[in-house]
């Protein structure tokens, strides 16, 4: 029984990374007042570009790890580019953010699938990045497997949480982001360039979404297919609400969702008599239930979320 629990917990950290990166990215978007439903599409493009580079270098065979990290970098760059395009649409042209996000989602998924068919072909795997056993620490009974035997991107993603907190709460840029998402009119009167700040937040957030997609294709599934993301971009958006726009709580949400996911697979595999349809739904139901019970705690919500800013119009 202990082995089963340890196995379950040891999967939580690596399997939560894609959701964690995407939801932290979406948190930056929303903190700046922009609601990006296109996270799924950005992840799809990141997954494709991320996988394409090591695949092109090795034809699906072993390659230097540098190609994998080049894949992550390219995925982040493509994500940032998509964030820039989304910014042009929603910040400069002030298009409705929800509709533009759905458009970005459809564009990203479609473009990734089309480019994949053109440059790669059918469902294709790559060696990806391996897990690393941290010397000594990984040998600690129970804890070693849970915390210290994962791939390097998993460690970097979790190390990014305090960095994200520092950026958001301790730097002038973080203050500008929060101001742009909470009271853009006041921010503008204080000399903050709201639109520029929103562009920057969108590019950072989308770069993280691109990284999240690349994590799925390079580090987790180690393959690409059209349906690789399968709704995880939308889960990431929900986790931002779940985590009340705070990096630590968003991380908690990503971990809780992943734990529920791995728990339901273990419940199924152990032959516990329970309808699998309900087991598969469990993580999603959990998110809805927690959102329902915490919806009144919206103190952290960016009050200008979803509202385009036009400094020429007084409201």
């Amino acid at each position: 029984m202990v082995d089963i629990v340890v196995n379950m917990l040891s999967m939580c950290i690596p399997f939560s990374v894609a959701l964690l990166l995407a939801s932290i990215g979406e948190m930056f978007n929303q903190r700046a007042g922009v609601f990006n439903l296109g996270c799924e599409g950005v992840m799809a493009m990141g997954a494709f570009i991320g996988m394409l580079i090591p695949f092109a270098a090795g034809g699906g065979g072993p390659v230097s790890q540098w190609y994998n990290f080049l894949g992550f970098a390219a995925a982040a760059a493509v994500g940032a580019l998509l964030g820039l395009i989304f910014g042009v649409i929603t910040v400069t042209f002030r298009a409705p953010q929800g509709i533009a996000g759905i458009g970005l989602q459809m564009f990203g998924v479609g473009a990734a699938g089309t480019l994949f068919r053109h440059f790669v072909g059918g469902t294709q795997s790559i060696p990806g990045i391996p897990d690393i056993d941290i010397p000594l620490l990984s040998k600690i009974p129970l804890i070693g497997d849970i915390f210290f035997s994962h791939n390097v991107m998993a460690y970097l993603a979790y190390l990014f949480i305090p960095v994200a907190m520092y950026i958001l709460f301790k730097t002038p840029w973080g203050l500008r982001v929060r101001a742009a998402g909470t009271n853009p009119r006041a921010a503008d009167s204080m000399g903050i360039n709201v639109n520029r700040t929103r562009y920057e937040a969108l590019m950072l957030g989308s770069a993280l979404a691109g990284l999240a997609g690349a994590y799925l294709s390079i580090a987790q599934a180690k393959l690409f297919s059209d349906s690789l993301i399968s709704g995880r971009g939308f889960i990431a958006v929900a986790l931002v609400y779940f985590g009340h726009w705070h990096p630590l709580k968003v991380m908690g949400g990503a971990l809780l969702f992943t734990f529920a996911q791995t728990f339901q697979t273990v419940v199924q595999s152990m032959g516990i008599s329970f309808p699998y349809e309900l087991a598969v739904m469990l993580p999603y139901v959990l998110v809805i239930v927690v959102l329902s019970f915490t919806s009144k705690d919206q103190r952290m919500a960016p009050t200008a979320l979803g509202q385009p800013f036009n400094r020429e119009i007084r409201t």
Binding site: D3, T123, S125, S230, T265
Partner: protein, 341 residues
Amino acid sequence: MKRLLAVTIALVMAASLFASGSSEAADDGTFKIALIIENTIDDKGWCQSMHDGITEAIAMMPDKKIEYSYSEKMLAVDAGSIARQYVAEGYDLIIAHGSQYKNFVLEMAEEFPDTSFAFGTSSEIGPDNVFTYMPESEETGYLNGLIAGTLTKANIVGLVSPVDGGDSARYDRGFVMGVQAVNPEAKILLAYTGSHSDYVKSAEIAHSQLGNGADIMTGSSQQAIGALRATAESPTAMWLGQDLAQLTTTEGQQKCIAACAYNYAAVVVGLVEKIESGVKGGEVIPMNFANGGFIYDYNPALVDQWVTPEIKEMISSTIEEFKADPDGTLADWAEVDYSKL
């Protein structure tokens, strides 16, 4: 007046376009087949097997002039419009490859009685211009189960399935029967992703099962590629495939001991012959070893290491039993009790 004339000319041109499509097919004897699929023709699973079957069937009928088109990534709600296009272009047989297409096929079959439609998996007898096909996948699952039950050293095998329905449900139950036939003590870890195409979740389940001790793995539907990829990371675990296309993958070559496949070529040849003889539908076409609907093969790179002569003999004799009595050998597949795994 000019506008009315222009509209009339356009309508006449459009009508003549459709009419010429139909008459052209009738005149030059070209048999036109269209395939509608929800994934892609190279998904190394469900959709690819039908596409490969059609192209193979065309090659098997060199004396016939056959035209073939396909539409990928068609959701059930979108498939009707493309199917209407195929009807307008005079296609003789429209195959909608998936039970999710049932409703639009039945609606269109009523509207276009001169066109033959086919969809599967389904064991329901359709209207006079609708064929259904049902792979009796419990047979292929049983063969893989026999090997899994024989080869497992940990006495734990893993099974990653999309949903408990269609041919996957039959494969899963056949697999359980096969394992239990040779190794009643073996524990079978069965879990569903809830999707035919969620490769990531399939891989997550496989990691979970491998972590819980499974040393022989299998999975059904195209999502199984994710589980196979996860199995490839295990130094000891091996894989049994539900599609021969898995043997062509890098990880399949390293880990997939044996695999089965749907031989849709035989089905398609049969459909073409029936339609040309005037039978446009109203039949269920079962797929099994007896009618050549399945193929089973070993991985040449692994066969000597993993497949003993006893296993080969067991598989061969079981296939012969299936051929001799396709209805009887696994007749009780639906009675498999998952609560006793």
